[in-house]
Assembly symmetry: C2
Homo-oligomer: 124 residues x 2
């Protein structure tokens, strides 16, 4: 048994100028800029119970979704069963590709998912 | 004075097979499938206070963000001031392009934004 839910999304920007990219999205979405954490700039979407971050990428700009889980491997297996495929492991998470062609990530939940809105419990 | 906030996102799928695309995303995100409404299939993200929809598109698959406002024109002008540009009007909304290259939409709020989490009030 494991849990998962939509964690939020990452705004991938094809630019080396991460600060102005994050400033735009912070102001456009009306979310505070929480500053840099590693390669990401976190936006304050706590009132929406979402994790929204901006990062620089080399591929074309896009938005990718993050699914968080208390068991990444079990969640990746569940998603494979739905037709997703593994692209690559990165640090503690996996990049997957949906049957619809979208890349998305399965990340380790940073919060206890028990009783969090939108959490689903999956049995093997 | 007008209000705006992140409404949610649309999962644009380059496929004519909308139903299986929506089934995948409904199950992947653990959100109920609310069925078709026009060209969209709505997912039930009400517990996350988000509007999440799946649609078929001719361009490459992507995720695009929606910003909702009680005054679309005022919000588009605000976003232009941040560096976004108008791409095209569609029905009651506008497609914009961010300085980071992302396409996104400004839509008419379907809910009263007063006191909704994440709503910001903007003065001209």
């Amino acid at each position: 048994m494991h849990r998962s839910r939509l964690a939020g999304f990452i705004i991938d920007c094809k630019t080396s100028a991460l600060e102005p990219a994050a400033t735009f999205w912070s102001e456009a979405l009306g979310l505070g800029n929480l500053g840099r954490e590693g390669g990401y700039i976190r936006l304050d979407a706590s009132r929406r119970d979402l994790a929204i971050e901006v990062q620089s990428v080399k591929h074309d700009s896009r938005v990718h979704l993050d699914i968080e889980s208390d068991d990444v491997e079990a969640e990746v297996k569940r998603l494979e069963g739905l037709g997703a495929r593994r692209v690559e492991p990165v640090s503690t998470w996996w990049v997957l590709e949906a049957p619809t062609g979208h890349r998305f990530c399965v990340i380790r939940a940073k919060v206890d998912l028990t009783d969090r809105p939108g959490t689903r419990v999956w049995s093997p």
